[in-house]
């Protein structure tokens, strides 16, 4: 047993103790506010009768409907009763109710949620049925029924609120438990023979403390709403005894001549609910801050924008020519260059391969040509010459007219590139009609032609299918058909065969080569596969860490690689590795090269 503990303890992520958590909540202004307010409310609720300046039920018909004064800090109501005293005494019922509901929801919800998440199978399904039944009930009506049957017994009603709330709590705790349960250290603890109960108590519960507190504070806020609501309906605390909800009801009677009554009761309820909400947020943020370290974001963009632009002239004979392309990403205020001062030319009618490891910037460079970089990544400088016009690559809007019409693109994940909500036919018709206005029927006929051109059999059926109903190879054919519809001069192919089976890869490569020949297109072919480069490309550019290392004809690259990295990358090609030996890595090669 002790062994088991020693084995699995180091793997458990450190969860600091409670005092630490409390401290970090108190250090947040909103956390401090919520803890302070809730403590005050609870203390006031416990010592209500001692604290209240007046008897909350003492009427004074000589001092009715008074605005705040020194004698009555919050004024008096329609019977001349002191509002502050009524709020103070009324808090006892609300706090008691919240505690009753909260403890039932916590006890039931956490145990059911953890058990369902941890044990899974039929236990999970049984608890799932419980959760579903409760969530499908008209909760308020059930409460009315319970209040009627139990003769307006508020405690029983709030316990029922707890049972109803346990369903949602269990649902959330279950998914939190599922997230933790499959982690390796839990498995390790189980293998070393720790009992399920001990694993749950020592390893699961501490890890899901965050979701538990957040959920329970939200539920506490909801129970206040319900408790006040019941009293407001006149089914809870009975007048003249004060309650927060009852005071809102009394205020509603007096709105014609004394609307002030709405303010103290409404604000007290709202602030208390807000405090519970903020408490949950602070706990979540404090726990999150412990798992991930966040730094304050600050702008540091000056670095790459000026100075680094290349002065090299465009190659006017090229179909497409890019100069000084620099792409950066900004994370936590720190700017990092992903592509730096990249130049390349795409000759008319050629297939240019861009080869490199993942993260070398090859895909980003091709996306930048059409202004399609993902959020958080942007071009800070770079110019493009295309069909005798110069484009600023950092101006995405100016690149829009080129998209599809003149420069088209196909992608690595052919399935994800299609909108799951629309049929294949719809995808094609949409693009056709976008570029040449025509009727739907005409566009459909063109779409069928386009699909036939990419060698899809049984076109009529495929047109009616949704993306999830076709294969990856088929999806890529659709992607190619869609890209080629407006007859673009340049096609950007971003690893179009990487996600496909080897045989399908070869077919797609053949298709691309044929289309390129027939249409005399220029193609940029991004890949990490040397076999593909050798197979389809005329020239290749090798990229490493956002820079172009060398650009040469495919024959030269393979026969006489001029850069050490290119040699290393070529040697790391798994196709060339001797069978039975460890596959070579770039690191091996670079080490060898430097020797």
């Amino acid at each position: 047993m002790t062994d088991a503990v020693q084995i699995d303890t180091p793997a458990v992520p450190r969860v600091a103790g409670r005092p630490n958590l409390l401290l970090s909540i108190l250090l947040r202004p909103l956390g401090l506010f919520s803890v302070l307010w809730l403590s005050i409310v609870v203390i006031v609720a416990v010592f209500a009768h001692q604290i209240a300046p007046y008897d909350p039920m003492q009427q004074n018909l000589l001092a009715i409907k008074q605005y705040p004064s020194a004698a009555h800090l919050l004024g008096t109501d329609a019977f001349g009763r002191d509002i502050l005293s009524r709020l103070i005494v009324g808090s006892s019922g609300t706090i008691l109710g919240v505690l009753q509901a909260l403890s039932v929801a916590a006890l039931l919800g956490i145990s059911l949620g953890v058990v369902a998440g941890y044990f899974g199978r039929w236990v999970d399904r049984a608890i799932g049925v419980y959760v579903e039944i409760i969530m499908a009930l008209p909760n308020i009506i059930i409460l009315l029924v319970i209040l009627t049957i139990f003769q307006r017994n508020m405690s029983i009603a709030m316990i029922a609120v707890g049972i109803i709330g346990s369903a949602n709590t269990a649902r959330i705790i279950r998914s939190a438990t599922l997230g933790v349960r499959n982690e390796l250290y839990i498995e390790a603890a189980r293998i070393t023979g720790l009992s399920d109960l001990a694993i749950i108590r020592r390893h699961i519960i501490p890890r899901i403390l965050g979701p538990i507190t957040v959920q329970l504070s939200i539920f506490a806020a909801i129970s206040i709403l319900i408790q006040t609501g019941i009293s407001f309906l006149g089914l809870g605390v009975q007048p003249p005894f004060p309650s927060w909800g009852g005071m809102i009801l009394e205020a509603s009677v007096a709105i014609n001549d004394f609307p002030w009554l709405l303010v103290p009761s409404g604000l007290t309820v709202a602030i208390t609910i807000l405090a519970f909400g903020l408490l949950g947020d602070s706990v979540r943020d404090s726990l999150a801050a412990r798992w991930t370290h966040t730094s304050t974001p600050q702008k540091q963009r000056a670095g790459f924008r000026a100075g680094t632009t290349s002065q090299q002239a465009f190659d006017d004979s090229a179909a497409l020519s890019v100069r000084g392309l620099t792409i950066v990403t900004r994370k936590d205020g720190v700017e990092k260059a992903l592509v730096e001062d990249l130049n390349f030319d795409l000759a008319a009618g050629e297939i240019l391969g861009i080869a490199g490891e993942s993260g070398s910037g090859k895909t980003l460079s091709s996306l930048a040509v059409l202004g399609l970089l993902p959020a958080g990544v942007e071009v800070v400088s770079g110019q493009m010459r295309f069909s005798s016009k110069t484009y600023d690559l950092s101006n995405t809007r100016a690149l829009r007219p080129l998209r599809g019409q003149q420069i088209a693109m196909i992608f690595q994940e052919p399935m994800a590139a299609l909108d799951p909500c629309f049929t294949i036919g719809h995808h094609l018709v949409e693009v056709i009609r976008r570029h040449t206005p025509m009727s739907r029927a005409e566009a459909r006929a063109k779409a069928i032609e386009a699909l036939a051109e990419v060698q899809i059999a049984d076109v009529e059926t495929v047109m009616k299918k949704y993306p999830h109903q076709i294969s990856g190879g088929m999806a890529q054919r659709v992607g190619i058909a869609r890209a080629l519809i407006p007859a673009p001069q340049v096609l950007l192919a971003d690893e179009p065969t990487t996600a496909l089976d080897v045989t399908v890869q070869a077919e797609i490569l053949d298709l691309l080569r044929e289309s390129q020949k027939k249409r005399k297109m220029s193609v940029v072919f991004v890949t990490h596969d040397w076999g593909v480069v050798a197979d389809i490309c005329d020239r290749a550019m090798v990229m490493y860490h956002g820079k172009a290392l060398e650009t040469a004809s495919v024959e030269d690259i393979f026969a006489r690689p001029s850069h050490a990295y290119t040699r290393a990358l070529l040697a790391a090609d798994p196709h060339a590795a001797p069978i039975g030996e460890r596959l070579p890595t770039i690191q091996d090669m670079l080490k060898e090269g430097s020797r």
């Binding site: 499908a136 009930l137 008209p138 909760n139 308020i140 009506i141 059930i142 009315l144 029924v145 319970i146 209040l147 009627t148 049957i149 139990f150 003769q151 806020a221 709403l225 407001f232 309906l233 089914l235 809102i248 205020a251 509603s252 709105i255 014609n256 609307p259 709405l262 009761s265 409404g266 309820v269 709202a270 609910i273 807000l274 909400g277 996306l367 399609l372 829009r400 007219p401 998209r403 599809g404 019409q405 088209a408 693109m409 992608f411 994940e413 994800a416 590139a417 909108d419 799951p420 909500c421 949409e430 693009v431 976008r434 570029h435 949704y466 999830h468 992607g479 869609r482 890209a483 407006p486």
Partner: protein, 313 residues
């Protein structure tokens, strides 16, 4: 499609049985029965026994329940303990008020909520922050308190709108509409921000998906990408939220109808509770349960319509 509906209905039958049985069993467990509650401590023992027999309380609880279920299946939910009227006809009288209220609230919160969500997803900035602030406000103030404040501002102070009461549509459409404005806003307020936030989040996620990029690469205009493709894909979680919001709007009628003195199902439920009219409450429970089941069914069906993958083949 038909199978989905049938399956849902089949699943809802046990639910209705569980719910209604619960009220019977609880009723039997409670201290002092309905006859005693109705007599309110007055009346002789003989009167009490007579009332018990009249209400059928002298028989075993399962037998009582069986009887009730038998007639419920034929559309008879018994008679109100309090007024002696037929429960079904009481419910039917009150149905359309709540229906207008809930539908009005839905139209308001779906249209405003989705627009706000879209704008804050695509533009961010001021509207996104405003949505956050308003959603906190909507969350912390009880709906009935907001309703009273709205009433005191727009009806009592500005005198723009009628304060309380309900005018049937057939009697005076203008007054019907004016009278529903504040109740609808009170029910919808919280839901508007819930829908706005969900729309913002799921639009944010969807706009980062691959197919958006490839649509852009094909030259599809941004407007079509947002309103046709992204919105359709982002709508699935939003539909779920709309379902939840509808259920909470149905519950919200209990409070809001009370504030504005609307003769709907919600205020009927409160009246039944105040009068300890269990027979009527049981009827209300059945009605509300069926309404929630119907909402969930509609959500399921729209899922199938919106998402080809979810279609039953």
């Amino acid at each position: 499609m038909i199978r989905l509906i049938l399956k849902r209905i089949a699943l809802s039958v046990p639910l209705v049985i569980v719910v209604t049985m619960l009220t019977f069993v609880l009723n039997n467990m409670a201290p002092g029965d309905m006859a005693a509650t109705l007599l309110q401590g007055e009346g002789s023992n003989a009167q009490y026994e007579e009332l018990r027999v009249k209400l059928g309380l002298d028989r075993p609880v399962l037998e009582q329940y069986g009887d009730w279920l038998g007639s419920a299946a034929q559309g008879d939910l018994g008679k109100s303990f309090f007024t002696g009227e037929s429960v079904v006809s009481l419910l039917n009288q009150r149905f359309w008020v709540s229906f207008s209220l809930v539908i009005g609230a839905l139209i308001l919160c779906v249209s405003v909520g989705i627009s706000l969500g879209l704008v804050s997803a695509l533009r961010g900035g001021f509207i996104a922050r405003a949505v956050d602030v308003v959603s906190v406000a909507a969350l912390i103030f009880p709906s009935f308190w907001v309703a009273i404040v709205l009433m005191s501002v727009f009806s009592v102070w500005l005198r723009w709108l009628p304060a309380v009461g309900y005018t049937p549509l057939t009697e005076n459409p203008r007054l019907w509409f004016l009278g529903l404005i504040l109740p609808v806003i009170s029910v919808a307020l919280h839901s508007i921000t819930t829908i706005a936030k969900q729309t913002r989040d799921s639009m944010g996620d969807t706009m980062n998906r691959d197919f958006i990029r490839s649509l852009r690469a094909c030259g599809i205009p941004e407007r079509a990408i947002i309103f046709k493709h992204a919105l359709r894909n982002a709508s699935l979680p939003v539909v779920t939220v709309i379902g939840l919001v509808t259920v909470s709007a149905i519950s919200g009628t209990v409070f809001v109808e009370r504030v504005f003195v609307l003769p709907g199902l919600g205020s009927l439920a409160v009246e039944a509770a105040l009068n300890s009219d269990i027979a009527l409450l049981q009827g209300v429970t059945v009605y509300f349960t069926l309404l929630i089941i119907a909402v969930n069914l509609i959500v399921d069906l729209s899922y199938g319509w919106l998402n080809p993958k979810a279609r039953v083949e």
